[in-house]
Amino acid sequence: MSATPFKMKAGMAVAIIGAIWSFILMSQAWDGSLDSVYVVGLAMFVCVMFFATAGAFTKFCPVKGSTVLVLSVVTAAVVILAMVYEAIPLIEGIILVILAIICIVCGACPGVVSWVDECRDA
């Protein structure tokens, strides 16, 4: 098995940063009322997707190489939806979208796809 590609490390690092930041935003979304459960839940969804994406950028990736891109796509989409529904603030949302796009770019690389598939076959 070949050494871990840089893009795998970059994808995981960026996804972890996104996960931690969205976790903080999730806690800030709670305003003490039951009505805020919806926005907290949506922010939690963002956090969960970033963590899932981070997990996909490892040698223990549970999905196919091409599915890493799909996870990144869903993450980006969920971040945008969270912005639309005002679960996360606009500026932080834009930064999280940029992080998700970096994950998409990393996940689209043929080297990443083949490396993940190689690890799964090993």
């Binding site: 891109l69 796509v73 989409a77 969920v78 939806l81 639309v84």
Partner: protein, 192 residues
């Protein structure tokens, strides 16, 4: 039609121009009519605006944009194959329906014709986008179907939680982005 007769650069340019043109129509229409509010008014409300400039820009703009969409669809279906060809054929239909949206504006009769063309336009456009996502994946592209996937999921997510006006605006904005990306993709195809 022989695909080799369609110049990818021309087709790609038409796609880019079509997307930018309709964006300009939207911006100019909203700029001229300050009463139009995102999320409360649909785009079609511009077609019956009290401000004549907004109404004319929107209605005629839809017709021109529809022609551009149709030409783009003809080129896309000629140059590409498989699912992307189907997407192009559906774009031809979408373009024709967009012309109908502009011609049969919201104030035409009781608005039934306008509504019919609007629903048909969005239905055909959405199916075209899905086909293009599958086609791009089959052709080995990764970034274009990824971006198409993002906008598809975003639009789906807006279906249940936003107003119809906001949903329409989101779908149109996403569709214009998709068309821009498809135009750039086709522009970069090397003609053999």
């Amino acid at each position: 039609m022989n695909g080799k007769m369609c110049n990818p650069k021309l087709v790609g340019s038409i796609g880019i121009i079509g997307a930018l043109f309709f964006s300009a129509v939207w911006i100019i229409g909203v700029g001229a009519d300050s009463s139009w509010t995102l999320g409360e008014n649909t785009l079609s409300d511009m077609g019956i605006s009290d401000v004549e400039l907004t109404a004319n820009v929107f209605n005629y703009g839809c017709m021109v944009a529809g022609v551009l969409f149709t030409l783009f669809g003809i080129g896309k279906s000629s140059i590409e194959s498989g699912h992307n060809r189907t997407s192009g054929l559906l774009m031809i239909l979408a373009g024709i329906f967009l012309v109908g949206i502009g011609y049969f504006h919201k104030g035409w009769g009781d608005g039934t014709e306008h509504l019919m063309f609007a629903y048909l336009f969005f239905l055909v456009l959405c199916i075209s986008v899905l086909y293009s996502m599958a086609g791009d994946w089959d052709d080995g592209y990764r970034l274009t179907p990824a971006i198409t996937g993002v906008i598809t999921v975003v639009c789906l997510g807006c279906v249940f939680g936003t107003t119809l006006a906001m949903l329409e605006a989101m779908v149109v904005a996403c569709a214009l982005l998709w068309m821009l990306i498809q135009g750039v993709k086709i522009l970069r195809i090397r003609k053999d």
